[in-house]
Every structure is written in C-alpha cells, then in structure tokens.
Amino acid sequence: MKLDTSGLESTSPFFGSGDELCPELLAAPSFALPLSTDFDEFQKDTKATLKHAKGTTTLAFIFKEGVMVAADSRASMGGYISSQSVKKIIEINPYMLGTMAGGAADCQFWHRNLGIKCRLHELANKRRISVTGASKLLANILYSYRGMGLSVGTMIAGWDETGPGLYYVDSEGGRLKGTRFSVGSGSPYAYGVLDSGLTCLLKKLRSWLEELFIMQHSEMQPVVVLQAFIMWDQMDGRSCLVMMLESFTTIIIQSRPVRWSKKWLKSQGHN
C-alpha cells in the first residue's frame, strides 16, 4: 500500500542531517500502518473504540461583498459532547478560510498542512495562491488517502485576484466550485433555509452591511439561519461563529451563544 506522503514532506528539513544514531527518530515522519490482514475492519474497530470527535453544521456562501462563512461549535464523541467551543472555521492564511466537518483531527491537521503548502507556493512564486489552486492541493492529497478512513468535509473560502472563491472539498476526493454550500450533519436543514430564503437574505445583508460597525444592533442573517437549524439538529449547538472574507481580509462578524429567539418561544407557548 503506497501512501502519498508529500503532505508530510515539509517537516523533513527540521531534522538533523545524516546522523545515524537514532534513525527512526530523525527520519522524516510517515504514517505508520497497522500490520493487519483486514485494514478496513481494523479502521472500523478503532473508530468504534476511540470515537473521534465529529458532528457539525457549517455553511458558506458568496454574496456581493465577499464570502460569508458560519459554523457551530460543538464536537461530539459518540453520544457524549466532548466540547462546546471548537473552532470550526480554520484560518489557513489571512485571506483564506477553511471549515471543519467530519473528523476534527483530520480537518485540523490537513488544513494546517494546506496552510504550509500555500505559504511555500507564495515564497516560490512570489504571489499568493488562488483559491482554485489551494482547494486543488487539498483535494489531491485527500484523494490519495481515499478509502483509508479519513473523514473531511470542508469548504475552502477565500479571496484572490479573481474575486471571492468558494470550493467544497471532501475526503472522497470530491471538489466542487459553487456559490453556496453547507456541510455536516445539520446541512440538510441549512440547505432548506439557505435555498429558499437566499434572495431576501442578500437584500437584508446589503442593508446590514451598511451598518457594519454598529454590530451589536445587527440581526445577523447567517446567525439566524444557523440558529434556526441548530434547533433541529442534536449534533450541534452552543455558539456560532460567523466570519466574512472581504477583499483580502477576514473580519469576524459575530460570535455569540445560540439562544432561542423570543418570537419562536412565544409561538411555542412559552413566555
């Protein structure tokens, strides 16, 4: 079984040169594979035993001013909530964001790795990498690990010379360019709101953006979208973080705890 370890190459320069006293320690890292006859069964068993952190709703869409990215912050391991404050929007570099859905460790590691590759590209080519390029890099690496049990459902959102860009990349090797995506266990609910309400969202967003700096009074539509479907999906919750990419800079718009809207509560009969 041959693995693409190009994703790990960048660490080899840090190791000492030619010293053979402890070759295993100083060798460039590679993925250790178990010596089992049935790899898939072993992976399934480890997953069941170790219950990696996952469970999520994330969404992103392109609109006139840029790209909006939003995500919840709960991580679950089996039925247990392991964390209520996971950062699922990962800054790959100051003008590119990635979202985390699926395996938390997989997403964290490969996004960090992608950030390294993007920086190397910048240094080698004296210009920033495009969102197309960055998403392709990630998709190719994930494709080489296809079938090994990685669980990554991510959106690469960024701003490059052609304007805002949004790609969906997953661990099966799929890569899609689009204008709006939602990923995770809560994504069906998100799509419902996103697909039906988008035109009115955009109108509200434009007027909201005019009051960009009076944040405390603004009713964040993506927050409302997220909150609406957080109520339906058990797997997410606690707080939602919304970040926006606007012409090469990232702005954190809103980050606040999920709470039931008064109108909805009243409609349910609570006071």
Binding site: L25, A32, L33, E41, A105, L150, S239, R256, P257
Partner: protein, 223 residues
C-alpha cells in the same frame, strides 16, 4: 460468510481519569494512580502524569503502553528542541507537537486520551485537551478518561468559562485561587471514585506556577 473478528487486539484499556484546570497564574493537573485491565487492578500506584518541560505537564489515560511510547517520543523531541533552540519548549508549542505526533499515527492510533497543562508565554495557565488522533483545543479546564463523563459536567457547573469563540475575547481561565482549584479537583475525584470502578486508590496532583512544580497526593477509595 460470517465476519471474522480478530482474537487478538493491539489495544487494551487501563482505565483512569485525568483532570486539568487553568488559573490566572497557575495550572493544576491531576490523575488517579490506579492501573487496571478488565476487572483486575494491575497497580495502585502508577503515575499517569509526566513533566514534559519546565512549564508543561501531561496527564494521559487509556492504554498505558501507548502512553509510555508517546511520553518517550515527546521527551526525545523536546531534548532535540532544547539542543537546537537553546531553550525549553513553551506549552503552546508542546501542544502543537503533541497534536502532530498523535496525528502521525492516524491509521494506527495511540489509544491515549491526553490533557496538557502548563503556563503559556505570558505566565497564564493553559490547558489543552486532545482526542485520540490529535484534534486539540485550548480550554480553561478539561477531563479525560473513564471518569471524565462524571467529572466534566461538574466542572462545567463550577467553572463554566465563556466560550473562547465569543467576542470580545474573554478569559477562559478560572478566577479561583490555587488552593480552591486544588480543593475542587479533590472533590471531583472523590465523587468520580464513588461511581467509576476504574478510578480510585490515590490521587496525584501537580501544580505548576511561577515558583515551579509542586506535587501532592491524596488517598482515594480502594474498592
């Protein structure tokens, strides 16, 4: 054809619970000292806490053989770092190193549930919590291991820190004093011991502050 389940598994669960709490200028890390396998106790006096650097302490529960291997690897990497950079590793750096080390074994994971406790570069307490394959997060407090599902809700109740995602950024460390935090930890373990068979015997508490490392022990129920 029926599925064949392997007769031998490379993993075993040695039980145990670890807790870490970050304060304004200290960090408390604690773990019980019971090592078990199945329904038997292997040792009543096995330490799960290791000092990785001057300002960094790690507590791990799970499969102790994997924990031992992980500790050895981290200690070796820390030594190389010290030779190359002429200084000790900071706790955030060690946090990232541990995450990467765990992820390099993504397809044959270390069965080890870790919490890293220490002081960051500003001298504030920091706690990093991990899952088995390296996903990590800086938090104000955490617990891992067999008793974590019993202890975590209690810590949430006592120490609920604002989410690090909120704006404006708020401190995740607890306002409790060092003595109060140690007391809280003792209470946690005393209760967890009552209801978790894998936790008990003795509690080892390691406190890290600007004066250095201080260790203390407390007896727990032995049944």
């Amino acid at each position: 054809m029926t599925k064949q389940h392997p007769a031998w598994s490379p993993y075993d669960n040695n039980g145990g619970t670890c807790v870490a709490i970050a304060g304004a200028d200290y960090c408390v890390t604690a773990a019980d000292t019971r090592m078990s396998t199945g329904y038997s106790i292997l040792s009543r006096d096995y330490s799960k806490i290791i000092k990785l650097a001057d300002k960094c302490v790690m507590a791990s529960s799970g499969f102790q053989a994997d924990v031992k291997a992980l500790q050895k690897l981290l200690a070796a990497r820390h030594l190389i770092y010290q030779h190359q950079h002429n200084k000790q590793m900071s706790c955030p750096a060690m946090g990232q190193l541990l995450s990467n080390t765990l992820y390099y074994k993504r397809f044959f994971p270390y069965y080890s549930f870790n919490v890293l406790g220490g002081l960051d570069n500003e001298g504030k307490g920091c706690v990093y919590t991990y899952d088995a394959v390296g996903s990590y997060e800086r938090v104000g407090y955490s617990s891992q291991g067999s008793g974590s599902t019993l202890i975590m809700p209690f810590l949430d109740n006592q120490l609920k820190s604002p989410s690090p995602l909120l704006l404006p950024a708020q401190d995740a460390v607890t306002p409790l004093s060092e003595a109060e935090a140690v007391d809280l930890v003792k209470t946690c373990f005393a209760s967890a011991t009552e209801r978790d068979i894998y936790t008990g015997d003795k509690l080892e508490i390691v406190v890290l502050n600007k004066d250095g490392i201080h260790r203390e022990y407390m007896e727990l129920r032995k049944d």
